[in-house]
């Protein structure tokens, strides 16, 4: 079964055409850069955290339409969310919120999940310097690559 660019659903198109929360936060509390432009996508996510809640999330993404839509949807999903609830956001929830993604584009939602994990780890590193933090970003980044290769 082959997928075509014209097969994207309405929600993906909407977030691609009208992406929410584009930008970078000055003095962000947690930032992440995941992906690799040589593989066709890179996402930057920055978070402002206030009282244990994601007060603001902004993104910039180099990538295909699905990557842009997944980035945009991620910021919408996590804004206003308590930090302890962020674990509930997975690549699957991003893809579902977009009304589904074709198999070859699932890596775009994995990229978004990686960005959340990485930004949160960055926030915790900053909040408690000196304490070891599980390098979830590195693990997740590897997952991205695997998905990317098997997804096509």
């Amino acid at each position: 079964m082959s997928w075509n660019i014209v097969d994207y659903g309405e929600i993906v198109l909407d977030h691609y055409e009208n992406p929410r929360n584009v930008g970078e936060i000055d003095g962000a509390d947690g930032v992440a850069t995941v992906g690799n432009p040589a593989c066709g996508d890179l996402m930057k996510l920055s978070l402002r955290i206030r009282g244990g809640v994601v007060a603001e999330a902004r993104f910039k993404t180099f990538g295909c339409g699905a990557a842009i839509a997944a980035s945009s949807m991620t910021t919408v999903l996590i804004q206003g969310m308590k930090l302890e609830d962020l674990d509930r956001i997975t690549n699957r929830s991003v893809a579902d919120a977009l009304g589904g993604l074709p198999p070859s584009k699932l890596h775009c939602s994995v990229l978004a999940e990686d960005a959340i994990r990485e930004a949160l780890a960055d926030y915790r590193r900053r909040a408690a310097p000196g304490e070891p933090v599980e390098p979830s970003g590195a693990r997740a980044a590897m997952g991205t690559r695997e998905t990317a290769e098997t997804g096509v």
Partner: protein, 391 residues
């Protein structure tokens, strides 16, 4: 909603109405098998085949008997390379090709490598051109086949086929060229270019899909890849696809007739497209040669913007492709662009424009206009563009 402007003529072209009309009688009325020699049905089919064979031979300056019908350029490449290598096995086992060939050539060469043949894959320069000197230097006593395409499907580079042909002729080595993108778009003459084998495709020249041909110079030994009833002088068995061949013949006839006017028209359109793009959008790079290029081909890097995202913005305006059509949907950037030394991230930011008969100045202006807006919008989302801007 009107359909988007088709600018992907390297992927395929529409069948011209005249071509369709030439095909229609052979489906339902003159449906005979060209191999049937015992009745008029067979005669009609055989006559149509021979007429088409003449038109196709005429397009490339060959003799009709040197045209072998196949299912398309991929099969032609397979027959030429595999058939040529197997037939030449007694003389040596070395094959020379180049890095930006179509997969039909590269994968066939890889398969032969697995069989024990040695393959030299020549590099190309930053414009995508093969150096004939490299071909000469790569030739050794065991070399039996050189296969270098006439025109590249992504960047439109027209390779120095005549110069390479002079070398292979002098050395007595079989020379194959994949001319699927070149034939009908630029003049192709098998004798002037000294080629022994040349692959053709009907659907790249406004003919139907699923039909192609291999030019085989008289007396060239070729091991058949499809055996059976011995059609096509035993070079390619199988009942001939009469309607498709009739269409192919008509398409070749029209291509030859219209080339002198159509090639300069497309060249001017292409140059207009590049002017409009480069005047209105900063950070654009032309990939491939500035000259010696297929008339309708343009390949451009729009830095900091991913190609597929750009095509999504254009999906209602224009039908284009990123890299080659086959590479779309894969994660790696185009191997052709990478072979030119284009960095991987820029390869992901490149679009291929393939202009053809249906395109007009108005199309070009509209697409350039829409591109400028889409690039500008996507750059506001791109993490790289901000970094590239002076603070």
């Amino acid at each position: 909603m009107p359909r988007p402007i088709y600018m992907d003529h390297h992927a395929t072209t529409p069948v011209l109405p005249e071509v369709r009309d030439a095909m229609l009688p052979f489906f339902t009325e003159q449906f005979g098998n060209a191999s049937s020699v015992t009745h008029v049905y067979g005669k009609e089919a055989a006559d149509a085949i021979e007429e088409a064979r003449r038109s196709i031979a005429d397009l490339i300056g060959a003799a009709p008997a040197e045209i072998v019908f196949t299912s398309g350029a991929t099969e032609s490449d397979n027959l030429a390379i595999r058939g040529g290598a197997h037939a030449g096995r007694g003389k040596g086992n070395h094959i020379i090709t180049c890095a930006i060939e179509h997969e039909a050539v590269l994968e066939t060469c890889r398969a032969l490598e697995a069989e024990g043949f040695a393959v030299t894959c020549l590099p190309v320069d930053s414009r995508g051109m093969v150096d004939p000197g490299d071909v000469l230097r790569a030739i050794h006593p065991g070399t039996i086949l050189v296969t270098i395409h006439a025109a590249n499907n992504e960047i439109g580079a027209l390779e120095p086929i005549a110069d390479i042909g002079r070398i292979t002729r002098e050395k007595g080595i079989l020379f194959h060229t994949d001319a699927a993108q070149a034939a009908g778009r630029v003049p192709v003459a098998v004798n002037g270019m000294n080629v022994d084998l040349l692959s053709l495709s009907a659907h790249k020249m406004y003919g139907p899909k699923g039909i192609g041909a291999l030019y085989v110079r008289r007396k060239v030994a070729l091991e058949p890849q499809i055996t059976g009833g011995g059609q096509e002088r035993k070079r390619r068995s199988g009942t001939l696809n009469v309607p498709a061949i009739a269409g192919f013949g008509k398409a070749a006839e029209i291509a030859k007739r219209d080339l002198p006017a159509e090639a300069p028209r497309l060249e001017a359109l292409r140059d207009r497209l590049w002017s409009r793009i480069s005047e209105r959008i900063d950070g654009v790079v032309l990939n491939g040669p500035a000259e010696n290029r297929l008339p309708g081909n343009l390949n451009v890097t729009f830095s900091h913007v991913e190609g597929e995202a750009l095509l999504m913005a254009l999906r209602e305006t224009a039908a284009l492709s990123t890299g080659s059509a086959c590479a779309s949907g894969t994660v790696r950037g185009s191997y052709v662009l990478r072979a030119l030394g284009v960095p991987e991230e820029e390869a992901h930011s490149s679009l291929r424009f393939g202009l053809g008969r249906s395109n007009t100045e108005d199309h070009v202006d509209r697409v350039a206009d829409h591109l400028a807006r889409a690039v500008s919008r996507l750059r506001t989302i791109s993490p790289f563009y901000q970094e590239a801007r002076p603070s």
